[in-house]
């Protein structure tokens, strides 16, 4: 991470320095968010590859299998959900720790948001690079697809990257927003939030049904490219980011 290159003894206390300090706080122990996810991902991949080789070997070669037999795989998606866990931990425990270190909520949130964006860039870029290797090696020699599995196998790498990046950002800021509801209002806040969410979803479905618009909805998903759909998550991501900020500005670190 570039943030660790900043000199620690700088007496400047401008907002950028303070915000970068929050980023550094998040990775003071880099194991959990910079090392473990790669190790787990590569371990899942190694297990998948071993199974593919075993099956291919038993079948007497990949050519004896159905085309695309090794392309249906969701193993890499765990990392997107993992981002939600990182966000929740950050907004709950790290928030309370940061305030104990005289950090303002403002600086903490902006520093955390920057950290989320940096992690999303790092992981989406890394996985896309691995997807590139996957393609260059004809699916690791067995027509396997792990880093860009079914649905992505014919998309350009730029789209694969955009999809991962947008998905990670969405899960980061959605997780952060839900976590701020918890930090500020505890359990009752979450009850209210999820009841509200359920009403929104059911209400939305009800409106679509009442206006007989399901065909248009299906049409939207069918006609919009994957890259387009990925970009459509941005409004939700930005909204979550703003909501999280507003919630956290008035939150107090209770034990």
């Amino acid at each position: 991470m570039t943030a660790t290159a900043i000199a620690p003894s700088s007496p400047v206390t401008g907002a950028p320095t303070r915000i970068l300090s929050v980023v550094r706080m998040h990775i003071a122990n880099p194991i959990a968010t910079l090392v473990v996810p790669w190790v787990v991902t590569l371990a899942i991949f190694a297990i998948n590859l071993a199974i593919w080789l075993m099956v291919a070997n038993a079948a007497g070669g990949v050519e004896n299998l159905d085309e695309g037999a090794f392309q249906y795989n969701g193993g890499v998606s765990w990392i997107v959900f993992f981002m939600t866990v990182v966000a929740v931990q950050a907004m709950n425990l790290t928030f309370r720790f940061a305030l104990g270190f005289s950090v303002t909520r403002h600086d903490f949130y902006l520093g955390s948001a920057l950290y989320f964006v940096m992690l999303s860039l790092l992981y989406s870029t890394g996985i896309t690079l691995l997807a590139g290797i996957e393609r260059a090696t004809d699916g690791w020699g067995v027509s396997g697809a792990f880093f860009a599995p079914w649905g992505l196998e014919s998309e350009p790498l730029a789209t694969v990257w955009l999809l991962y990046l947008m998905a990670m950002l969405l899960f980061f800021f959605l997780g952060a927003a839900v976590a701020t509801v918890w930090v500020r209002w505890q359990a009752y806040g979450l009850y209210a939030f999820f009841i509200g969410l359920a009403l929104l979803v059911v209400g939305g479905g009800w409106i679509i049904t009442a206006t007989e618009s399901w065909a248009q909805v299906g049409e939207f998903f069918a006609s919009t490219s994957l890259a387009g759909l990925a970009l459509w998550t941005l409004p939700a991501t930005v909204l979550s980011g703003v909501v999280g900020f507003l919630f956290l500005r008035k939150a107090t670190p209770r034990a």
Partner: protein, 295 residues
């Protein structure tokens, strides 16, 4: 002298309970001050209000003459160590100390390392796996080595044994002499810390009940011991804070005495001794039933 900490009509309510109730006081720059009171009296909430961690229901909190809430420039000069401090899940002791200089401009790493040795803290252990005393020691190390202009220490040595506590008092005093600053120390171990304190604030049920110079406070009362008859006749008509009778002997603690009174007591053959801060505070806050308050 300028006030470095100031509260005016400061109130924090949780529902119907006033954890801090119309509190006004000010502390001058420099010195080690005590915020004393029983458990649940409002010490932590008051410190959280002074450091912008809590939002006041009404009234004003000021540090360095400014409101602390979301005030990055003011808060940067503050270090607040509380017993209930939460740490990130994967943080070990060393990560806490590694992060500290990014947030405290006066951080002295050499001093921090010395403190680690003095308190024998396992830096390679996760914070959540540490004992209460070890976690407290980490807090104490950050509180001292940060050398913040304004340091709040809330029950900083919970779980530490008597030896470690005295090491803390010694180190605090020693470092204070070479690096003068303002320290607000909350504790319920009043007698232990009494020798350090310049000014004493006593909070009870959310209200400041004593706000006085420690020496002046001690001088407000004296204990007299002697034959029960002599003690009783001297105490008659005076302001009795505390009274003990054992057989033919008695002791009595009296407030509001003049120099003439002291001479009269000596003439009556009574032995005068100073009152400890703890006795004085207990008699002023613990001697009566308090209304039960739910959290």
């Amino acid at each position: 002298m300028t006030a470095i900490v100031e509260a005016q009509g400061l109130t924090k309510r949780f529902g119907r309970v006033a954890a801090v109730d119309d509190v006004s006081f000010s502390l001058d720059e420099g010195g080690i001050h005590g915020l004393l009171g029983r458990n649940g009296a409002g010490k932590t909430t008051l410190m959280q209000l002074m450091t912008g961690q809590e939002f006041a229901t009404s009234g004003q909190a000021r540090i360095f003459g400014e409101a602390p809430v979301e005030n990055a420039q003011a808060l940067r000069r503050v270090c607040f160590i509380k017993e209930s401090q939460v740490y990130p899940d994967d943080f070990k002791g060393k990560h806490v100390l590694k992060s500290a200089p990014w947030f405290f401009d006066n951080w002295d790493d050499e001093f921090a390392q010395r403190l680690v040795k003095a308190f024998d803290v396992p830096l390679d252990r996760r914070m959540k796996k540490m004992s209460r005393g070890q976690r407290s020691a980490i807090g104490v190390i950050v509180g001292l080595a940060s050398r913040a202009e304004l340091t709040f220490l809330d029950e900083p040595y919970a779980g530490l044994d008597a030896v470690a506590r005295h090491r803390f008092y010694d180190l605090l005093l020693e470092d204070y002499v070479t690096h003068p600053r303002t320290v607000v120390l909350s504790t319920h171990l009043i007698d232990e810390a009494a020798g350090l304190l310049q000014r004493v604030l006593v909070i009870d049920a959310g209200r400041i009940v004593i706000d006085a110079d420690a020496d002046e406070l001690r001088a407000t009362a004296t204990t007299f011991a002697g034959r029960a008859g002599d003690v009783e006749s001297f105490a008659a008509g005076r302001d009795v804070i505390d009274r003990t009778v054992m057989g033919g002997l008695a002791s009595v603690t009296l407030a509001g005495l003049s120099d003439d009174d002291l001479r009269a007591a000596a003439a009556a053959g009574l032995e005068a001794s100073p009152v400890s801060l703890q006795e004085l505070i207990v008699s002023r806050t613990g001697g009566f039933e308090r209304e039960e308050k739910s959290a």
